[in-house]
């Protein structure tokens, strides 16, 4: 080991099969650890319960995103194509985007022309939802983060092939140099490694 200052990130233990990992996770959970995670090449069914993860709040974001899209589309179209806002006494809105009075095919310029606006409202809803999903997800899981202590580990890269890992972070209140290690051994973790983070 060089003399460069390092910070302990946590213990990384490898497991042979999904099954082992699953049961290990259950036990780590029951041991009451909070700041830990299992790493696998694919999502494992039931692992959330095994780890006791809460349900994702992403859908709520997406709902808001969608609503925003709908509203923007509605406002954009009604302001520029109808006199709806003037009718409800908000004519100044139409002043903001000076609109040119356009009558096409004798269609009305009041709110009753709304059905013609549904397609765009729908599309924008989807569009905004989709982007909220993407960026919401990234925000929730804190990606992109290209630099991470785990990448420093030798055998961690197997996670994207056929390796199954449990990593208990040092930040966890229950973390102890000995206790945690033994726990991991107990649950059948192999080549347990102390992951450190260069500073």
């Amino acid at each position: 080991m060089s003399t460069t200052l390092k910070r302990v990130h946590g213990y990384l233990a490898e497991f042979d099969s999904v099954k082992d990992l699953y049961h290990a996770a259950e036990q780590v959970r029951d041991a009451g650890y909070q700041r830990w995670d299992v790493h696998s090449p694919f999502p494992i069914h039931g692992m959330d319960t095994a780890m006791g993860n809460p349900r994702s709040i992403l859908p709520k974001f997406v709902f808001c995103g969608g609503i925003t899209g709908t509203t923007i589309a509605f406002i954009l179209q009604t302001i520029t194509q109808t006199n709806f806002w003037s009718h409800i006494g908000l004519g100044f809105l139409q002043k903001i985007v000076e609109t040119y009075p356009t009558v096409v095919q004798g269609k009305p310029t009041d709110i009753w022309t709304l059905p013609a606006f549904f397609p765009v409202m729908f599309e924008l809803t989807i569009l905004f939802s989709a982007f909220t999903t993407l960026f919401g997800l990234l925000a929730l899981i804190g990606l992109p983060r290209w630099n991470h202590p785990l990448f420093a580990s030798k055998n961690f890269p197997k996670f994207s092939d056929d390796g199954f890992f449990v990593c208990i972070e040092a930040r966890d209140p229950k973390f102890s140099q000995e206790g945690t290690k033994t726990l991991l051994e107990k649950v059948g973790g192999k080549n347990i490694e102390l992951v450190e983070d260069e500073l």
Binding site: V104, Q105, K107, P108, D110
Partner: protein, 1086 residues
């Protein structure tokens, strides 16, 4: 942080791009050519808009990139004001002048719109006793003025001569003539009614007694002249009062379009065809002809008979009227013809004094003689035909005499002033040309085109356009009409009058050496001007300046109609004519007949280089840019021909090879060949278009050639036909009924087809349609706004293409060339749809729903098909399907009910064109205004393609002169935008603004009733188009819309068009064969 941008003194040849625009606008070089009539100046601000508009693409196209640039420099554009002010000139306002277009033996009274001295548009002169609409030739004549390929320099055997040299040669001619008292001098003129011209010719005759005068028109014949001279006496001219003729029988006489008779205008005829209430009083037209003419299309009863049987038919009529001398000839007529003629003649007789028989001008003397006696028997003279006394004129020989004189060596110098081209259209033209050269005759030719005669003549003098020269003419009724110049000769051409004056040694031709005259006042020393004034003085009895000025203003001298002739027809002589006539022989499969007829686009060939006319579809065949042999369906299909397949037609030793086209309604075993095509070297518009049919003609005055052989060749030509579908396949697009149907149910048209059961509109909202009211708050405001609308009366519309061309000239519509027309991209905003309808498609015949059976009627059916024509442009739908589909709001509705089209907003998705049920929208597929479509370009030395397809590598159209014709008030469209009829919105807007100018701070802003007219409406000589303000109850259009015949095309789909049509009425005679079949087809259209 704004900045001031001080334009530095630009160094020459720096900043090419930025300076180019202004250079474009200045065009000094060209202005010099134009001379004083074009003072550099505010003309240009108009010009500039126009040019600028054409650079719109260049500038806007780059705009995205340039905007940044433009913010620090912007194109330097200059305004060049007049230095001396020009009388009457208000920059930005059009000036109207009255003038006259000399045509044939008559005159077309015109009003010419000029913008800063540029004539841009012509219309009929409503003040003139014979004024009103004009034909397509007059309408398009303004383009000839600017034709960049007009003959511009004097030529000697095809080589350029200086004007000095030309004057010299001309002087030599007159000196020679003086010496020899005119012996050896021959002058050929065309048909004319110009008193000055004739007077001067008289003076020539006086000065050079020995000189010989001849008259020659390519498509003219002396037959009628000879006959009327013999029967009515010399100097007596018949004037047909179409307005008072309730029964008309036309013998191969296309008096409504290509073969006008001296008489009242067409509107006088059509006014008796439109009825709005039950009536029996409607005129009736019988037509006998071999091919469909527009007159035939208007007929109530039409029979297709070989042209060679026309004399027999005439004789038959005469016989029916008791002229025994006609018996021999009459007996040669087939029985079927007798059955047809007998009831027709009875009808004429029943309407004695209200009936008239007309004969085609190219028919033989015997026919005209017979017709004279027939009309006499019908009591037509004095009632439907006025006899007018003409002013005495010198004697003219015909072409035969000319030929004789030349071959007899009596002619040393031949001066050709006729619009015809002797070496091209004369009978046996090559023979004549050879004769002339063999006899060492010096030919002096005056003409506007560099045609074969021009280049082969010893001296060719470029003729001036009638808009460039002083002159006069007598209208059919003898009204003295003035021809006044709008603009100094663009290319220094000389009018025929001036040439005569030069011969008399009173004028030098070519550019005036002397300094320009004061603006406004005509040059005092202009000999032509003085000559005309002299004639005027003579006619008006004294040179009264006020009278003269009024005459100039009105374009004619009030009350100058010719006196009635005291002549009484001398029918005795008719017998002699009949005796001369050889008995008719009906054509057979082996010996066909060939009929040579003038063409609707180039007439006898004189308009060959007029792109508008070339591109205007033939009213009958819808063929553009060339001619083809019209062959009736029966013969056509017997020979197994396809449209465009070449045939070799040989008659009397001569033969031509020409593409064939199927002509429904054309009689069997007869071929019609339109004349005037196949000319060489006349310019990129006219050169080598079609085939020269004159080649078949061997002796003068004969236009019907018997015993022709036809041979089918494998070669195929791609004809540019604008309409593929000849039938309506049962769709109720065009509706007609007989007077009887109409009297039974005046509203028959509104109940035709699906219109009878249109479900009511059950949508939740009405939207902006109909009249604004409490129930319909979004409707159109009829209180404070104008509401434009149009009605087209199909009973009156004869289907000539005058409106199409008027629209083209008013709205800067580009010409797209033959190739593009063939590809279906013609730009004309008005599409003149022509349908053939077969009686057999009526009730209890072929089931209506099955279109296929109707697509192919039998040849026999087609031979007797009815022909109907329907002008169709944007219908200005109130609920316009095109508008709602435009993604960028480039076409929206205005509060006066127009379907507006903002070119500068259009991005060209063409969705509107798809969604227009009338296919009234046109797309600029290429840069038709910038790229000359008539030439080919070789790209990078590899491939040769039509210039349009060469894109940026192609040649740009730089014809300054054609630009001058453009209407500065209409955007010149760029490539990639949709365009369409806008009811001449530029006229509507300026009318509204004018009203504001007048009213200023007072209240009435409604444009005075019926004062604003659209271009098509003005041009219509049949008064078929009514346009006006629907919100103005006094207006004509409101009355027209109230007519029971009023119907909307495709009303069923609920577009609520502002343009509607009045169903056509026909007035069949029950006793006629096949009377029951007439208009039956219209009964169950859908």
């Amino acid at each position: 942080m704004k900045r001031n941008w001080i334009h530095p003194e630009e160094p020459q040849n720096a900043k090419r791009y930025w300076r180019s625009v202004s250079e474009l606008e200045r065009r000094e070089s060209f202005l010099k050519d134009l001379g004083r009539e074009f003072p550099a100046g505010d003309t240009l601000t108009d010009e500039e808009r126009e040019n600028g508009r054409r650079d719109f693409l260049k500038i806007m196209g780059a705009s995205v990139g340039l905007m940044g640039l433009a913010s620090c420099r912007r194109p330097l554009t200059t305004i060049l004001p007049y230095t001396q002010h020009v009388e009457w000139m208000v920059p930005g306002k059009a000036l109207m002048y009255a003038t006259t277009m000399p045509c044939g033996g008559g005159a077309t009274p015109l009003v010419v719109t000029t913008h800063e001295g540029r004539p841009t548009h012509v219309t009929g002169n409503p003040l003139h006793p014979l004024g009103g609409g004009i034909d397509s030739f007059a309408q398009a004549s303004v383009l000839d003025l600017y034709d960049p390929e007009r003959s511009q320099k004097p030529l000697g055997m095809g080589k350029d001569l200086s004007w000095a040299k030309a004057n010299e040669l001309l002087a030599a001619v007159s000196a020679e003539a003086k010496k020899s008292a005119g012996a050896g001098l021959g002058i050929v003129i065309g048909a004319t009614s110009s008193p000055t011209y004739l007077r001067l010719l008289g003076e020539v005759k006086a000065a050079f007694p020995q000189a010989q005068l001849f008259k020659y028109e390519a498509a003219g014949a002396e037959g009628s002249a000879a006959a009327s001279k013999a029967v009515l006496g010399a100097g007596v001219k018949p004037f047909v009062k179409l307005g008072s003729a309730m029964r008309i029988l036309a013998l191969d006489c296309d008096f409504l379009s290509l073969d006008p008779v001296a008489g009242e205008p067409i509107s006088a005829f059509t006014k008796h065809r439109a009825k709005e209430a039950k009536t029996a009083d409607m005129n009736r037209l019988y037509v006998l002809e071999n091919r469909y003419t527009l007159t035939g299309g208007m007929a109530d009863h039409r029979k297709a008979i070989p042209a060679s049987l026309i004399p027999a038919a005439a004789a038959l009529i005469a016989l029916e009227l008791g002229d025994a001398s006609a018996k021999a000839l009459a007996d040669t007529a087939p029985a079927a013809l007798k059955e047809w003629i007998a009831p027709a003649v009875r009808d004429l007789v029943d309407n004695k004094g209200k009936s008239v028989v007309l004969a085609g001008s190219r028919l033989g003397a015997e026919v005209h003689a017979l017709v004279a006696s027939i009309n006499n028997a019908l009591g037509a003279y004095g009632s439907t035909i006025e006899l007018l006394q003409e002013a005495p004129a010198p004697e003219f020989g015909g072409f035969a005499e000319l030929q004789a004189a030349v071959s007899g060596g009596q002619i040393k110098t031949l001066v050709s002033l006729t619009p015809a081209s002797l070496y091209y259209d004369a009978p046996d033209a090559q023979g004549f040309a050879k004769l002339v050269s063999d006899k060492k005759v010096k030919l002096v030719h005056v003409g506007m085109l560099k045609n074969i005669t021009a280049v082969q003549s010893a001296l060719h003098i470029p003729a001036a356009h009638y808009l460039e020269s002083w002159g006069d003419a007598r209208a059919a009724d003898g009204t003295y009409s003035i021809v006044q110049p709008m603009i100094a000769p663009l290319y220094d051409g000389a009018s025929t009058i001036e040439v005569i004056l030069a011969l008399l040694g009173r004028k030098k031709l070519g550019p005036a050496e002397s300094a320009a005259p004061e603006a406004g006042a005509p040059p005092a020393e202009d000999a032509a001007y003085t000559a005309v004034r002299d004639t005027f003085a003579a006619t008006a009895g004294g040179l009264d300046e006020t009278k003269w000025n009024f005459t100039l203003r009105d374009g004619f001298l009030k009350g100058s109609t010719s006196a009635k002739a005291a002549a009484t027809p001398n029918v005795a002589v008719v017998a002699e004519f009949i005796a001369k006539a050889k008995p008719a022989a009906a054509p057979t499969d082996e010996a066909l007949e060939v009929v040579l007829a003038p063409d609707a686009s180039v007439f006898d060939g004189r308009y060959i280089n007029n792109a508008w006319l070339q591109e205007a579809p033939d009213p009958v065949t819808k063929l553009t840019w060339e001619n083809a042999a019209w062959i009736g369906s029966v013969t056509f299909r017997r020979l197994g021909l396809k449209d465009g397949q070449h045939v070799k037609i040989s008659v009397g030793g001569a033969e031509i090879e020409i593409p064939a086209i199927e002509a429904p309604g054309h009689v069997t075993n007869s071929i019609t060949l339109p004349l005037g095509y196949g000319q060489k070297g006349v310019g990129e518009v006219g050169s080598d278009r079609g085939v020269n049919a004159y080649a078949l003609r061997k002796q003068p005055g004969i236009f019907v050639l018997g015993g022709a052989k036809i041979e089918v060749l494998p070669a195929m030509a791609e004809l540019a036909i604008t309409q593929e579908q000849n039938t309506m396949v049962g769709r109720a697009v065009y509706r007609e009924g007989t007077l009887e149907t109409f009297n039974k149910d005046t509203h028959f048209a509104q109940k035709t087809g699906m219109d009878a059961h249109i479900p009511e509109n059950i949508s939740f909202y009405k939207g902006q349609v109909g009249v604004k009211s409490d129930e319909n708050p979004d409707g159109f405001d009829y209180e404070t706004k104008h509401q434009w609308g149009m009605v087209i009366d199909l009973s009156k519309c004869i289907g000539c293409t005058a409106c199409v061309i008027a629209c083209q000239s008013e709205n800067n519509i580009p010409v797209v060339g033959k190739d593009q027309v063939r590809k279906g991209r013609i730009m004309q905003w008005i599409r003149m749809d022509r349908y053939f309808a077969v009686a057999k498609w009526g009730k209890n015949e072929v089931a209506q729903q099955s279109t296929w059976a109707e697509d192919n009627p039998t040849p026999e059916q087609l031979e007797n098909a009815e022909m109907v024509t329907q002008p169709l442009a944007c219908q200005q739908c109130e609920a316009a399907p095109c508008e709602t589909v435009c993604p960028v709001n480039a076409t929206v509705h205005t509060d006066d009910g127009l379907n507006a089209m903002a070119y500068n907003r259009c991005i060209g998705t063409r969705y509107c064109a798809n969604n227009c049920p009338y296919t009234a929208r046109r797309f600029n597929w290429f840069d038709y205004n910038k790229r000359n479509p008539l030439i080919d370009t070789t790209v990078a030395g590899i491939v040769t393609v039509n210039n349009l397809y060469a894109g940026p590598l192609g040649a740009k159209k730089e014809d300054e002169s054609l630009r001058l014709q453009r209407n500065p008030n209409v955007t010149v469209r760029m490539r990639g935008v949709i365009e369409k009829c806008t009811y001449c919105v530029q006229r509507l807007e300026s009318a509204k603004i004018l009203q504001k100018q007048v009213q200023r701070d007072s209240k009435n802003f409604r444009v005075p009733t019926d004062t604003v007219k659209t271009a098509c409406q003005q041009s219509c000589s049949a008064d078929a188009i009514v346009f006006g303000d629907l919100a103005d109850n006094k207006s004509a259009v409101v009355k027209a819309k109230a007519s029971p015949r009023d119907y909307q095309v495709l009303k069923y789909i609920g577009t609520r068009p502002r343009t509607s049509y009045l169903a056509r009425l026909r007035n069949p005679n029950k006793e006629m064969p096949g009377a029951k079949d007439i208009a039956v087809w219209s009964n169950n259209q859908y």
